[in-house]
């Protein structure tokens, strides 16, 4: 990377909201389905049909705004964005222009090494999604050169959140980290499924280049058609390199929209600024202004869950958990909440993290039951960690217990008590097992004495087996070594 230049990146996301019904009608809001089965006169833009706003969608946007610390103005409104497109039923989109539901705010995100960063938001607004076109006969699925097109309006009118960041990101990796944090937060809020592969999260990036340290902004390009976080990172890096190349050779950047070509790993020009639409925004006369009451906003604020970035910061800075594990814990909101409950009744967060992300997650994968919904209550896991910490049981027994707890065996302390599984830490008792094993395997002892030190493991294993797994492994190691060397 050329150190003389820095990239200035802003990201614009469209997120489909997880509401029961569409934005302006009673049709079900669900992914997929037979084409044109989730439609009505309103979302088809039939003559005479009128929109009625979805209260749940408005609440979700306000909740998202509050989660990012945005201002929720007392007055907001819908506007019409006018342009012709075959999959847009009314040939205008009901959107928000100059008075969005949420203004400002900050997305806290972290890089792979755990460094916390912030990116301010410009705004969050609410709008409706369009239908989906399929163009046949053009070979590449594009409208140009196609012989006919089919339109599916199931998606038309699905509530869409547009979230625009300030140009405060500096690399593809930062952009992806920002998007990850945005995604995790919206998931935690229940605002959206945020699945890029199902199109419930879509994003564009604005990229420009300037001399490192300069305060002025260079000419930007807008990158579209990025279908995964991986392609966001690649596209931004490719565009950064392209722009640096042009500037280094004394050229000028043209303001334009560029499409990301996943296969060839390059961006290509789609349309220039001159071809940009005049959307002729004006206030939507079919709807009255939105004036969310302060009381309603405060109710939504009070109902906000713990946010992933808050969790991550607490895990890493207060609980001392590594960045990678902390990221995994916040990845699934229910898993993070479960972990919080374990930590609340245990003082070994690292061990709790190990169990939750290790054995429990493995069991969850194997059985298809989420950790938070499993038979292993947070209290019982804390109890198990307590037993290990107090050296009442060793890790092998702990693993076995956990598997039984998963199957509904209940309190681990009760099982240990009932079945006498407590770890044997009495040197005398262990010495007896050692004695027994060494005399049963004279040839192995001889091998060791002849210099084959790797047979030690076998002997330790035999002692553990003789103790039915209950012996303290560290003590067994020590006693076996002492005995062999004597």
């Amino acid at each position: 990377m050329n150190a003389r230049y820095e990239a200035v990146i802003g990201v614009e996301c469209h997120v489909e909201l997880k509401t029961k019904t569409k934005m302006f009608c009673g049709c079900v809001n669900a992914f997929g389905g037979e084409p044109n089965t989730k439609i009505c006169p309103v979302c088809l833009g039939m003559p005479g049909a009128l929109p009625v706003p979805n209260a749940q969608a408005i609440e979700l946007i306000i909740a998202a705004g509050l989660a990012f610390g945005a201002e929720i103005p007392a007055f907001s409104k819908f506007d019409r964005k006018n342009y012709f497109y075959p999959d847009m039923p009314k040939d205008y989109q009901i959107s928000q222009y100059d008075m969005p539901l949420a203004i400002g705010g900050t997305v806290k995100y972290w890089l792979e090494d755990g460094t916390m960063r912030e990116c301010r938001l410009t705004r969050i607004h609410l709008e409706e999604d369009t239908g989906k076109s399929t163009h046949a006969g053009s070979g590449d699925g594009r409208i140009a050169g196609s012989s006919y097109s089919l339109v599916d309006f199931n998606r038309a009118g699905v509530p869409l959140m547009e979230c625009v960041s300030e140009p405060e990101l500096r690399s593809g990796a930062e952009a992806v980290a920002y998007l990850e944090s945005l995604r995790r937060t919206l998931l935690a809020l229940g605002v959206s499924d945020v699945k890029m592969e199902e199109g419930s999260l879509r994003c564009d990036a604005n990229v420009s280049i300037r001399p490192a340290g300069s305060a002025e902004l260079g000419t930007k390009t807008e990158i579209k058609n990025m279908n995964s976080f991986r392609s966001v990172e690649r596209a931004i890096e490719s565009e950064r390199a392209r722009q640096i190349e042009i500037l280094s050779n004394g050229g000028r950047i043209v303001q334009e929209t560029r499409g990301w070509d996943e296969v060839n790993g390059v961006t290509h020009s789609m349309r220039s600024k001159e071809e940009a639409h005049d959307y002729r925004y004006f206030p939507e006369p079919d709807l009255v202004p939105l004036e969310p009451s302060r009381a309603a906003v405060e109710r939504l604020r009070a109902a906000l869950p713990v946010l992933p970035a808050q969790r991550f910061e607490r895990y890493t800075s207060q609980l001392g958990i590594g960045s990678k594990q902390a990221t995994q814990l916040v990845e699934t909101p229910s898993l993070g909440a479960y972990f919080d409950r374990v930590v609340a009744c245990s003082n070994n967060a690292q061990q709790a993290s190990n169990f939750v992300l290790g054995d429990l997650s493995r069991l969850a994968n194997e059985t298809g039951v989420a950790v938070a919904e499993s038979a292993v209550s947070a209290e019982h896991l804390a109890e198990l960690i307590g037993l290990v910490d107090a050296k009442r049981i060793n890790s092998k027994i702990a693993k076995e217990l956990l598997a039984r707890m998963w199957d509904g065996a209940g309190s681990p302390a009760a099982i240990v008590e009932r079945e006498g599984l407590a770890q044997t830490t009495d040197p005398g008792a262990i010495a007896a097992f050692v004695e027994e094993v060494l005399s049963a395997h004279p040839s192995v002892v001889a091998e060791f004495k002849a210099g084959k030190s790797n047979v030690m493991g076998f002997l330790v294993g035999q002692v553990m087996k003789a103790s039915r797994g209950k012996a303290d492994p560290a003590l067994v190691n020590e006693l076996v070594r002492t005995k062999l060397s004597s």
């Binding site: 005479g48 009128l50 009625v52 006018n82 004006f282």
Partner: protein, 494 residues
């Protein structure tokens, strides 16, 4: 007098008390429609079979003891309102073959009250016009002089009611489209407060102005239709969620205790001696009925037409975008989607619609938006403010409903003179106020063969429909102008 000339109130009473069946009333109406339609041309579609089926259901409901306010009342539905399964054209080639897949709330409420839809009435294309001449699908004539226009845009509904082809008409008023044809056809034309009657299923012209209302031969009939249609609708976010006071049962006898505002800027002397005399007589009649006449001022009302012709086209340019040939209506194939759009819209829309789409698109364009659309909205606020101040001094405003009686076909061939037809009705529309026209006398226009009706406009504060209809009823009862002449139908019967 034939039975079908009875008022809606009388017909509903007779059908409710089983003096007549809805089926009989419907058959008589359909027979009459057949005999005069060739001359009048009120309807674009006559729904004979569907009307008979509706009538049969009404009779059954009456037999089941339902007390239907509009039992068996024949109604003309303006063709910009959806009725499930019926062709709904807006008087436009672009929707010439479009069958509505659902029913407008206001229409559904009329049917629920027992009304029988006789047909879909002609109108200016997408309700843009003041004479019905902008319809691309048919000519409607004024039943009082077939060489003259019925007014517009709800001209078909007005002509149908005036010619007894229906007892009630459903119209929509954006800048005067109920009140002006009401005045031209010797009817009560009533535009309620914006938000009183659901627009769901009314094909939009200008969303912030469009309001459905009745055309009727009596104030009581208009009140009955209003009572049936008014009220909050969960399908229209701009309807007002407040109780509707039933107007039909509260029609007043006199105007005592009411202050009626005379608008200084609307001096009827400007309309010529004949109309001036009629309006002065009307104001004296109001006074004779006990009203106190007070002068009020609407200084910004003169900017009404200019304001309206920015806001309404701006909204229509967006509302009519959906007629693109993709999903419904006319499609003229092209080389690509762009040319399909262009050809479809070029062939589908008439010149006035195109003119307004162009004006509106321009008014909303980047660089012009502030100068046109934003300024027009500011002017609209000022106009509404003028009315608010005026209504601090009076309970009702009285003024002309139109600047002339019904004119001959082709008389207003330049758009601007046609736009000026709504000079007296546009300010109320911009302010969202309830207003109506009620017959106030007759005058023979210059070069005319017979006297033509003239309308007095009464306007009330927001949501004061009950007061407005009550006062109009008192005026109507005391003067009886509507009854002075009958439409010219005998000579045209087929």
């Amino acid at each position: 007098m034939e039975y079908i000339e009875k008022s809606a109130a009388q017909i509903a009473h007779d059908v409710r008390t089983r003096v007549r069946s809805a089926a009989e009333v419907t058959d008589a109406t359909l027979a009459h429609v057949e005999s005069v339609e060739g001359a009048v041309g009120a309807y674009l579609t006559v729904l004979a079979d569907s009307a008979r089926a509706h009538a049969a259901r009404v009779d059954e409901r009456v037999r089941n003891g339902e007390k239907l306010a509009l039992a068996g009342v024949p109604v003309a539905v303006k063709d910009n309102m959806c009725l499930d399964g019926s062709r709904t054209t807006c008087g436009s080639k672009i929707l010439e073959r479009w069958i509505a897949p659902y029913t407008a709330t206001a229409v559904a409420r009329m049917l629920e009250a027992g009304a029988v839809p006789i047909g879909k009435a002609n109108c200016d294309e997408f309700a843009m016009g003041s004479s019905c001449e902008n319809s691309a699908l048919g000519v409607t004539r004024n039943p009082y002089d077939l060489t003259r226009v019925p007014g517009g845009s709800s001209g078909g509904s007005a002509a149908a009611v005036a010619a007894y082809e229906a007892a009630l008409g459903m119209g929509s008023d954006t800048g005067g489209s109920i009140r002006e044809p009401g005045a031209f056809c010797n009817l009560v034309g009533f535009k309620p407060t914006y938000g009183r009657i659901s627009r769901y299923g009314l094909i939009a012209f200008a969303s912030s102005l469009d309001q459905i209302g009745p055309l009727a031969r009596t104030v009581e009939d208009a009140a009955l239709a209003y009572d049936a249609m008014a009220g909050f609708d969960p399908m229209d976010a701009t309807t007002v969620d407040r109780p509707v006071e039933a107007a039909a049962g509260a029609l007043r006898e006199d105007l005592r205790g009411l202050r009626v505002g005379m608008v200084r800027e609307f001096d009827s002397a400007a309309l010529g001696a004949a109309l001036d005399a009629l309006y002065r007589a009307a104001y004296r009649d109001l006074e004779r009925l006990g009203a106190e006449l007070v002068e009020v001022s609407l200084p910004t009302a003169a900017y009404g037409v200019a304001t309206y012709y920015l806001i309404a086209p701006a909204e229509c340019s967006s509302n009519l975008a959906r007629f693109d040939g993709v999903r419904y209506g006319l499609r003229v194939e092209g080389d690509d989607v762009r040319s399909m759009y262009d050809r479809t819209r070029a062939a589908g829309f008439g010149p006035e619609v195109k003119r307004r789409i162009l004006i509106g698109t321009h008014a909303l364009s980047s660089g012009y938006y502030d100068a046109y659309y934003v300024r027009a909205q500011k002017a609209r606020t000022l106009i509404a403010g003028d009315f608010e101040r005026a209504f601090a001094q009076c309970d009702l405003i009285a003024c002309p409903a139109a600047s002339c009686p019904a004119f001959e076909f082709g008389a207003k061939s330049d758009p601007y003179s046609m736009y000026l037809m709504d000079y007296y009705t546009i300010p109320m529309a911009l302010a969202g106020l309830p207003a109506l026209s009620v017959p106030c006398g007759w005058t023979t226009p210059e070069g005319g063969r017979v006297p033509m009706p003239v309308g007095l406009q009464l306007c009330a504060p927001l949501f004061a429909e009950k007061l407005l209809l009550g006062a109009a009823r008192a005026y109507e009862a005391a003067t009886g102008h509507a009854l002075a002449r009958r439409p010219e139908l005998e000579s045209v019967r087929a």
